[in-house]
Symmetry: C2
Subunit: 308 residues, 2 copies
């Protein structure tokens, strides 16, 4: 008997909070099944879906590393456990695919071993898994994928995350264009310095976004959902980005920016109808450049990773 866990995709940065903000989606997401095995130690038994290129070696796989670090912490690394990873979302899309697998893996293993650990307890181990993929200890995708909601990462070391209040009605349209963009590449384009003036403006936007969440002021969220620091540097990596963004805003979206390191583009909207309109408008804008896309419509996922 195994434990099957679903962990959702997430919008890293949420446009306004580079490396500190993340938001969980309802779908897509990854599934990880953990089950006991007679062979001692952790083993990845199966990977399906988009993950044709994912490694089976535990120490090279985000889900594997996350599970392994948890087992070591529990002193249970001799227990025989096998993982099945079912990738149900694109890799390298900017939707936190590796984070979702890591989040699902730790929860599945924890439930299998009935550790009684909370999801917050599990978070650091999921982050260690995500580290394999991203090269850095970042919780801005892992935390929302595991805990759900809109999450502020106050500190990575020591790890401290806080869930913001999620305003009713907030809906996301996420468009994944079928182009390749490596996170490493998207990091490499970033200047090491930010003009003080932009730092001040961006800080005000982030703080305004947080106020908007707590006061359920969707208009304020819209006025605050701007990125004057990162977006201008990464937009050139996504063909037609500004047309896509304009299409979303014309369709009534509160705001629109790049999801994580891209290439996915997200729009936040005040209801599901506007999200649908914004989503199809964004798809059309990509299509005009001959770029195929997937569209995901989703409210903010309130619960994150779940046993299913």
């Amino acid at each position: 008997m195994g434990i099957k866990v679903f962990a959702p995709a997430s919008i890293g940065n949420v446009g306004v909070g580079f490396d500190v903000l993340g938001m969980a989606l309802e779908r897509p997401g990854d599934e990880v099944i953990a089950r006991k095995s007679t062979i001692p130690g952790l083993r990845i038994a199966k990977i399906t879906g988009h993950g044709g290129q994912l490694p089976y070696a535990v120490e090279e796989n985000t889900a594997g590393v996350a599970a392994q670090r948890l087992l070591e912490h529990l002193g249970a690394h001799e227990v025989g456990i096998e993982l099945e990873i079912h990738k149900k979302m694109p890799l390298g899309s900017g939707l936190g695919s590796s984070a979702a697998s890591a989040a699902a893996a730790v929860l599945a293993v924890s439930e299998l071993l009935r550790t009684g650990m909370s999801k917050r307890d599990l978070l650091p181990f999921a982050c260690m898994g995500e580290q394999v993929a991203s090269g850095g200890f970042h919780a801005d995708n892992v935390a929302p994928s595991l805990l759900g909601g809109i999450v502020l990462v106050c500190s990575n070391e020591p790890l401290e995350v806080h869930r913001l209040h999620t305003p009713a009605g907030l809906y996301a349209a996420v468009v994944y264009p079928h182009i390749q963009l490596l996170t490493r590449e998207a990091r490499a384009v970033l200047r090491a310095e930010v003009p003080l003036r932009d730092h001040v403006r961006q800080s005000a936007y982030l703080a305004g976004f947080v106020v908007g969440c707590f006061t359920s002021d969707l208009d304020l969220i819209g006025r605050s959902l701007k990125d004057v620091v990162i977006e201008p540097q990464r937009a050139p990596l996504i063909p037609g980005f500004y047309e896509v963004q304009a299409a979303a805003l014309e369709a009534g979206a509160l705001g629109c920016s790049i999801s994580g390191a891209g290439p996915s583009v997200f729009a936040l909207c005040s209801n599901s109808l506007i999200a649908e309109n914004a989503g199809t408008a964004m798809q059309r804008a990509f299509q005009e450049r001959g770029i195929a896309t997937d569209l995901y419509l989703s409210k903010v996922n309130p619960e994150g990773a779940v046993v299913c």
Copy 2:
């Protein structure tokens, strides 16, 4: 018959939000009296207190300019009005002295003329007055002085400010060391660029501070009340700053940083007793360097400028 208005001092930046955050104090503050006069136009009739060096020319005086812009907006610049300005707080202290005079002036004139304008309506005019002193259109002292509370300036143009929730118990100790430090000088030391890494950390601190206010999480406010961008650059302008800061934290303050452009240093505390202890500890630390000080103890002022 005149209208007398008190407008309080304020802590600009509040350490964590350079140019975007401000907090109103209960005291000290300035008083402005506005009364009708038979001579047409606006005139500054009297200035008392620390303002020996303040100009009587309307267009050179922050209170004068603020009142004048309001009168022009009302089409009432021919009405005879005289102002008395009673400075009851030090100039150039980093406590928003010019902002307080501007805030008091617009409210006094508005009440005198029974305009029915709200304090929010009056805010832009007070900012125009403050501009004379600071050289820039900043609302981070004017807004708290006029409106009270902890205020986030989301945008200067168009002007948009939001009051944060003020956690019960939050208390400030503010120490004004008797040294001269010009705002211009304090601005001049600032580097034009911020390392991306510090931008991310500081953004997280500001967002954490805002979350802490809305959730009344004083510990989170304490962990967030840090300035890795501006404080390290301005601290050398305040002799003994780090000793003063350490003294405040040892006395139990949640956090401690520079008020506005300095030289005043503030500590936020979880109650009035700790604030008193932190305040006297900070005074002692300055005293060891032979620097005389004034101490102001105050809870967050919830109402800002008031007719009295």
